[in-house]
C-alpha cells in the first residue's frame, strides 16, 4: 500500500430515539478515517499522482471498514460521503487529489455500485479539526431523506505534514421501508426512483434489481401498468403473473 497510515478510526452512530420519537429500526451511520503522511508536505509539485493513487486505495479500504462496522453486505449500503482535512504543511489541492480523481470508483466497489455523485468536503486544519462529511443517497443524488452529514474528528490529527481522510456510509433502508409498508397493508405506496446519470444502462439495471429484490419479499412480481412521463404506455403484462389488483388512474 502506498499510503503511510498512522492511525485508522472507525465509528458507528446508532440513533434509537430522536425528539422523543422511537426510530425503529434505528438509523445506523458508519464513519471510517485514516491519518496518513502527506508525501507533498512543505513543497509544491505539479504532479499529484501519488495522492491520486492513495485516494484510490483509501476509498476501498475505508469503504470496506464502514461496511464491516455496520455488519452488512455491501449492497445494503444506502448513502455515502467523503472528506479530507489537510495539515498545515499541505495545500487544499492535496485533498482534492485524494478525493476526486479515483476515490469514488474504489468506494463504489466497496459499497456495491453507486450511481450518484459521492458528496465531499475538504479544508485545511490542525489537530482536532472537525469536518462535516456530507452524505447523499448512493443511487440518486436528489433523495431528500438522505441528505445528511456526520462530523469527523481525531484529537491528535492531522499533524502539519499529515492528511486526515474520512469516508462515511449508512445502512440501507429500502428493505426496511418495504417491510413497514407491507405490515401497514400499503405496499402499493412504495415508490422506487433513481436519478443516476442516464445512458450507461446502470440505473435501469439497478432499478430492475431493486424491484426484483423487494418483490421477492412477498411474491413473484406482476407488471400491471407502465407509465412513462405520466403517460400510460401499456397495461397488464402477459409475461408476468397477473396482478391481484389492477391500478386505476385517478387524476
Amino acid at each position: 500500500m502506498l499510503a503511510a497510515i498512522r492511525k485508522l478510526v472507525v465509528q458507528v452512530d446508532e440513533i434509537r430515539i430522536e425528539m422523543g420519537r422511537p426510530v425503529d429500526p434505528p438509523t445506523r451511520r458508519a464513519l471510517a478515517m485514516a491519518v496518513i503522511a502527506n508525501p507533498f508536505a512543505g513543497r509544491y509539485d505539479e504532479n499529484l499522482e501519488e495522492l491520486i493513487t492513495i485516494g484510490e486505495e483509501l476509498g476501498g479500504l475505508l469503504g470496506a471498514r464502514c461496511v464491516a462496522a455496520l455488519g452488512i453486505p455491501p449492497e445494503r449500503a444506502e448513502s455515502y460521503g467523503k472528506a479530507a482535512v489537510v495539515g498545515e504543511a499541505g495545500e487544499l489541492e492535496h485533498a482534492a487529489a485524494i478525493l476526486h480523481p479515483r476515490m469514488g470508483a474504489s468506494l463504489r466497489r466497496a459499497v456495491s455500485r453507486g450511481a450518484a455523485l459521492v458528496p465531499s468536503a475538504k479544508k485545511r486544519g490542525g489537530l482536532g479539526t472537525a469536518i462535516d462529511v456530507p452524505l447523499g443517497h448512493k443511487d440518486a443524488a436528489f433523495v431528500r431523506s438522505h441528505f445528511d452529514a456526520i462530523e469527523a474528528r481525531i484529537g491528535d490529527a492531522p499533524r502539519a505534514s499529515e492528511i486526515l481522510v474520512a469516508v462515511a456510509v449508512t445502512e440501507r433502508i429500502g428493505i426496511l421501508t418495504a417491510r413497514h409498508a407491507r405490515e401497514l397493508g400499503q405496499a402499493d405506496r412504495v415508490i422506487l426512483g433513481t436519478d443516476g446519470p442516464a445512458g450507461s444502462g446502470v440505473p435501469p439495471l439497478g432499478m430492475l434489481r431493486l424491484i426484483a429484490l423487494l418483490s421477492s419479499m412477498a411474491d413473484i412480481p406482476g407488471v400491471s401498468m407502465v407509465l412513462i412521463d405520466g403517460v400510460v404506455r401499456c397495461h397488464r403484462s402477459r409475461n408476468t403473473p397477473p396482478a391481484v389488483e389492477v391500478p386505476v388512474l385517478v387524476g
Binding site: 478510526v9 446508532e14 430522536e18 462530523e151 484529537g155
Partner: protein, 192 residues
Amino acid sequence: MIELRRVFTHAEDIIHEFGPPPPQPLRRGAAVAIIQNPFAGRFEPDLLPFMDALKPLGLDLARRLLAALGVAAPAVQGYGKGAIVGSAGELEHGALWHAPGGYGMREVLGDTLAIVPSTKKVGAPGATLDVPLTHVNASYVRSHLDALEVRVPGAPAADEIAYILVMSTGPRVHERLGGLRADAIERWDGQR
C-alpha cells in the same frame, strides 16, 4: 426506566506514533450510550434505584464495545469509564455510572482485578472527555497508563447523559518508560 436514545461506538488502530511500528497495531475503542436524564432540571435526593436500573446498560455497552473492537474478552488489556452529563443535570448523575459501568464491564471481561479508572464532567453537546485507561489486573502497570479522548458530535443535550466505556488491547504504542510490567504482576491485588 432507561430511555436509550443513541449508541456511539469508536474503534481505532494506532499503527505508529512516528516511531517504529509494533508487530500488532494498538487497537483501542469506546462505546457511548446517550440516555435521557430522568433527573434533568431538578434535585432528586434518591438516585440509588436508577443506579440499579443502569446495570443491564453496563453489560450491553461492554458487549457492544467488544463487538466494535472485533476481539474476545481475553484480548482486552486496559479499560476505563466516564460520563458527560448534559447542562440540565449535575455531576452526581454522572457518578451513577461507577457501579453499573465498572461492574458491568468487569463481568463481561471475566475476572479482572483492577479498579476501572474513571472521569466525569458536565458538558455541552460535542464536549470531549479524556477517559483514563489502566491495566485490567494491576493499576500500576506503567505501560498501560493511557487515555482516550471521547466525543460524540451533538451529544449530550441538556437533558441527556453520555455514559462511556473504553477498552484497549495493549500498551501505549511506543511505551518505553519502565516501571511495573504486565508480565511481572506479583501481588494480584488489583494494584501491583
